[in-house]
């Protein structure tokens, strides 16, 4: 049963992303700057850093599944988030070996992954023809506000889940060396 906790949290975050629009103050939403919640990705980064061992790839698997869910439910262009999230998380998983897992490293890796994911998503949407704004405006109005908002979310989420994910890792993955 305990193995289902992480997918359940990810699913909840996925749904909350859809109502995030109502929770945010109206002047943030209607203004020029655009904020995109990447809460699923943030939690995946936590999973990659605290839950996965060096030889397990649960985070990439979850990235594939929940990326596809976001594609189906929110964008109706299949494959974009699936590809982006799994590639980004795979990169984060590789990078975590270099650092020690503490607060600053987590925040840094999280911000980096969001920036990379945003970049890939927008390149894909640009190629497909859905988005068409110049790179400079994109950076000011979309990338920076998004990074800032998600940074705040990350700081809130860190104390809640960092210790717990480590505990779940000890509980669930110590015998699962074969995974």
């Amino acid at each position: 049963m305990k193995r289902l906790i992480i997918p359940a949290i990810l699913f909840l975050l996925l749904i909350l992303e859809g109502v995030a629009f109502e929770l945010l103050p109206a002047n943030l939403v209607t203004g020029n700057s655009v904020i995109i919640p990447h809460w699923v990705l943030i939690f995946l980064v936590f999973v990659a850093i605290f839950y996965d061992r060096a030889n397990t790839y649960f985070c990439v698997l979850y990235g594939l599944i929940f990326g596809l869910l976001i594609d189906v439910v929110y964008t109706s262009v299949l494959g974009v988030y699936m590809f982006t999230y799994s590639i980004t998380i795979y990169m984060t998983h590789g990078l975590k070996k270099i650092f020690h897992a503490n607060f600053y490293v987590t925040i840094l890796l999280g911000t980096l992954s969001i920036a990379v994911a945003e970049g890939i998503i927008n390149i894909i949407f640009f190629v497909v023809g859905i988005s068409d704004i110049p790179i400079k405006e994109y950076t000011i109005y979309r990338l920076l506000p998004t990074l800032l908002a998600n940074f705040i979310f990350m700081v809130i989420l860190y104390p809640i889940f960092a210790k717990r994910l480590l505990a779940w890792q000890r509980e669930l993955l110590h015998m699962g060396e074969s995974v």
């Binding site: 109502v19 629009f21 929770l23 869910l69 964008t75 109706s76 799994s86 894909i124 949407f125």
Partner: protein, 294 residues
């Protein structure tokens, strides 16, 4: 180690191929979603509607506090308006009755204006802002079909993009491209010609719809004139409010005019919507007639 590198490269290449295939598949003109997509949409849609209730409750508390602040002024204004409306309502009733009588004498009961409203609640909005899309809690089981118009009390907000059994995706006006055209008209008082044209796409820079005018009138378009759907597109009924004219610009050859139309409905605060099921179904009637002829 080189073997591992090759494997990694191979996986990434496979991923890119799958990505391109999936994007190509989903951007193709498809009539309906596939079974797994419908299943996912319904499952997520159900949980969304469960979660949405407490969230909107909390959100409404804050907006209520805001409302209370200017209740007095609003009340004053509304009282004045109410007096005006009373006489207007009487007038409208008279005209409606007269219209019905005249229709009866003409033996013409169907109208392009008639529609069957399907009330729905918005359960979520896409966090990806390139895709202007909301999810509503009514689907095929309630009679929602692709391409139906979606309105709020203020005016049109979009059209149904895809349907599942118990939920549907609505594409907002602000996400319209040149593939989604609305046949629209500016209605004039007697003596002046009506103006017909097509709403072609949404211009993100000016935050308005581009209304390309086909049938020019002698009198010029003024700011603030109302643009409504004309019902000539075959899908939307006539008389749905779309927006007001904010500016008129000539095209690059100076032959036709394009009006900038500001949508009447607010695209950001949408809670309850009505899906418009047109009673007079143009396209089906045509095919039925063709079959009869054969």
């Amino acid at each position: 180690m080189p073997v591992f590198r090759k494997k990694r490269l191979f996986i990434i290449l496979c991923g890119i191929i799958i990505l391109v295939a999936m994007i190509g598949y989903s951007l193709r003109d498809r009539d309906s979603l596939t079974m797994p997509e419908k299943f996912i949409n319904d499952t997520v849609g159900w949980v969304q509607s469960v979660i949405h209730t407490p969230v909107s409750y909390v959100a409404s508390i804050f907006s209520n506090i805001d409302d209370i602040k200017n209740t007095y002024n609003e009340n004053q204004l509304l009282k004045e308006k109410l007096a005006e409306y009373k006489s207007l309502i009487y007038e409208v009733q008279e005209i409606k009755e007269e219209n019905e009588e005249l229709r009866n004498t003409l033996d013409k009961s169907d109208s392009l204006r008639d529609f069957n409203p399907i009330h729905a609640t918005v359960t979520s909005r896409s966090p990806e802002r390139w895709v202007e899309q909301i999810t509503i809690n009514k689907g095929e089981q309630d009679g929602v079909e692709t391409n139906m118009a979606v309105i709020t009390a203020e005016g049109m907000i979009g059209k149904v993009q895809a349907t599942s059994e118990f939920s549907s995706h609505v594409q907002l006006l602000s996400g319209f491209d040149q593939f989604n055209r609305i046949s629209a008209t500016i209605s004039r008082e007697e003596g002046n010609d009506d103006i017909f044209g097509l709403i072609e796409e949404y211009d993100k820079e000016t935050d308005s719809l581009l209304f390309k005018i086909i049938d020019e009138s002698d009198t010029e378009i003024e700011e603030g004139e109302l643009v409504v759907s004309s019902g000539m597109g075959g899908v939307f009924p006539a008389g749905l409010m779309i927006g007001t004219v904010t500016d008129v610009i000539p095209d690059q050859y100076g032959l036709t005019n394009t009006a900038l139309v500001e949508p009447a409905a607010n695209m950001y605060e949408i809670n309850n919507v009505i899906v418009v099921d047109r009673l007079l179904n143009g396209q089906e009637d045509v095919t039925a007639e063709e079959e009869d002829a054969e």
